[in-house]
Symmetry: C2
C-alpha cells in the first residue's frame, strides 16, 4: 500500500528521499491556489521563477507576468498572486502563458524536482489530486511551502485533507506528520476559513482582498485539474484515458 508523508517546510526536504515518489507541492495562500485557477481559466502553461527580474523579463516573450513579494503584487508586472487576477477579467488571461514568481511556492517546487512527478495541490483541486495519486500508486510526499520556511497551518490542513481523502487506500499512519495533520484537519474541517482566521500567516494578510482570497482558497473541489511539472513548465495533466 502506498504511503503519504508530509514535509512541513522546504527546509526539511533534505530529510526526505523523493526518488520514486510523487511530490505534491502546496502553498494554499496563495501560489498553488492561483496556479490551479490560472490553468482552469485557460492559461496554457506557467513558468515559475525564483527571481523577480527573470520573471519580469519574460514579458518580452509574450508572457503575462505575475509576482508577489511579502504578500503584495510586485512592481512592473501584470498580476499579483491572487486567484481573482485570473477570474476578474481585468487582465484577459485565456490563451496567454504566465511567468510567475512567489516568495515560498516557487522555491518549494524547485526543491522538489527529485521526485518522479511534481504536481501542485490546493483545496481548489484536492479531489483531482487524490484521483491522480490513486492512479499513480506511488508513495506521496506533500511539500508544504510554509511561510519563509516556517510551519504554517493552511498547508498542513491541506495535507490532512488529502490524507483523509486517500485513507484507507494509502497508509496514513507511518508518519507522525501525517497523523498530526489528520487530527488538525478533523479540528478544522467543519469551517476551514474560521479556523484559519486564527493563523498567524492569515492575520498577517489582513487586507480585505486577502480575506476574500482566503475564503476562495479554502473551497474544495472547485477545479477538476492537476497542475504538473513538465519540461520546466507547469501544465494541466492529461485527463486519464477512459
Amino acid at each position: 500500500m502506498p504511503s503519504i508523508d508530509i514535509c512541513f517546510s522546504p527546509e526539511l526536504l533534505p530529510l526526505f528521499d523523493l526518488r520514486g515518489r510523487v511530490a505534491v507541492v502546496v502553498d494554499v495562500l496563495r501560489a498553488t491556489s492561483s496556479m490551479v485557477t490560472a490553468l482552469a481559466a485557460g492559461v496554457p502553461h506557467i513558468v515559475p521563477f525564483a527571481e523577480l527580474a527573470e520573471c519580469r523579463a519574460m514579458a518580452a516573450q509574450g508572457y503575462l507576468t505575475a509576482a508577489e513579494r511579502d504578500g503584495r503584487q510586485a512592481e512592473g508586472v501584470d498580476l499579483g498572486n491572487s486567484p481573482f487576477g485570473y477570474l476578474d477579467g481585468v487582465v484577459p488571461v485565456a490563451g496567454r502563458n504566465v511567468a510567475i514568481t512567489t516568495t515560498n511556492g516557487t522555491r518549494a517546487i524547485h526543491l522538489s524536482l527529485a521526485a518522479d512527478a511534481v504536481v501542485l495541490g490546493a483545496f481548489l483541486n484536492v479531489g483531482a489530486i487524490a484521483d491522480f495519486l490513486r492512479r499513480q500508486q506511488k508513495d506521496v510526499v506533500v511539500v508544504c511551502a510554509g511561510w519563509k520556511g516556517n510551519f504554517c497551518l493552511e498547508d498542513t490542513l491541506f495535507g490532512g485533507a488529502l490524507a483523509a481523502r486517500l485513507h484507507p487506500d494509502f497508509d496514513v499512519t507511518s508518519s507522525d506528520a501525517t497523523l498530526a495533520a489528520l487530527d488538525l484537519w478533523e479540528t478544522a474541517r467543519a469551517d476551514v476559513g474560521a479556523y484559519l482566521l486564527k493563523s498567524a500567516h492569515v492575520r498577517r494578510l489582513n487586507s480585505l482582498e486577502s480575506h476574500q482570497d482566503m475564503a476562495f482558497c479554502v473551497k474544495q473541489d472547485e477545479y477538476d485539474l492537476v497542475p504538473i511539472w513538465q519540461d520546466g513548465r507547469i501544465v494541466a495533466a492529461a485527463a486519464p484515458s477512459a
Copy 2:
C-alpha cells in the same frame, strides 16, 4: 507579553533567532525525560556528548556513561536512555556525575546554545518549566529534538502542554506552530499515552521496556526541577529565592 514559539525540528533552528530568548529543549522519548530523572535521583551534573567515543572516555574521569543509538543502549556504557536506569538501583547513581550521548537530544541542546538560557523540558517537569519561564519573562522557543530531524508527535504535544500552562500570560497565538501544538494537545490530553501509541516513533520502540518508559515519560509534574545548561554541564537550576 512574552511569546512562546515551537521549533518542530533542529533542522529548522536556523529560521529562529534564539538571542534574548529561553530555549526549552525537549526529547520526551527519552533523552530529556531521563536527564530530569537523573538529576532528581541525585546526579550532580550531566555532560552531553555528540559522539559515543567521547562519552565512553569519560568513564576514566569517574563519570557514569549513558548512551543510546537507534533506541537501544550502546555497547560498553553503564546506562541506556531509560529513565528507569536512574530509579531501579541496578547502577547506584546518587552523587555520580553522568556523561551522556543520545541520537537526537544532545544535538538539539548543542544547536540551541545561542539562547539566553537553555533548559530541558519533559512532561515529568512541565510545571517546573512553566514556573521558571514565568519568572524569566522572556520569549520562549521550544526546540523539539524530533526523530532524526523529523517532526514527532510526543515533543509537539509537550510544546502544546507547555503553551497551555503559560496561557494567558504568554502570547500563544503569534506562531502557527504553537497554535497547532495547542490543538493537538487538546486532542491528546485526556490520555496522552493512548494517543502516542499511534505515533510512528512509539511504534518503532515496540519492546515492553519501551512501553513502560513511555507510560512513565508522559506523567506530568513528577519532578519540581529544571535542568539548565551551565558552563558545559546540565545541572538543576537553583530554586527561586523566597
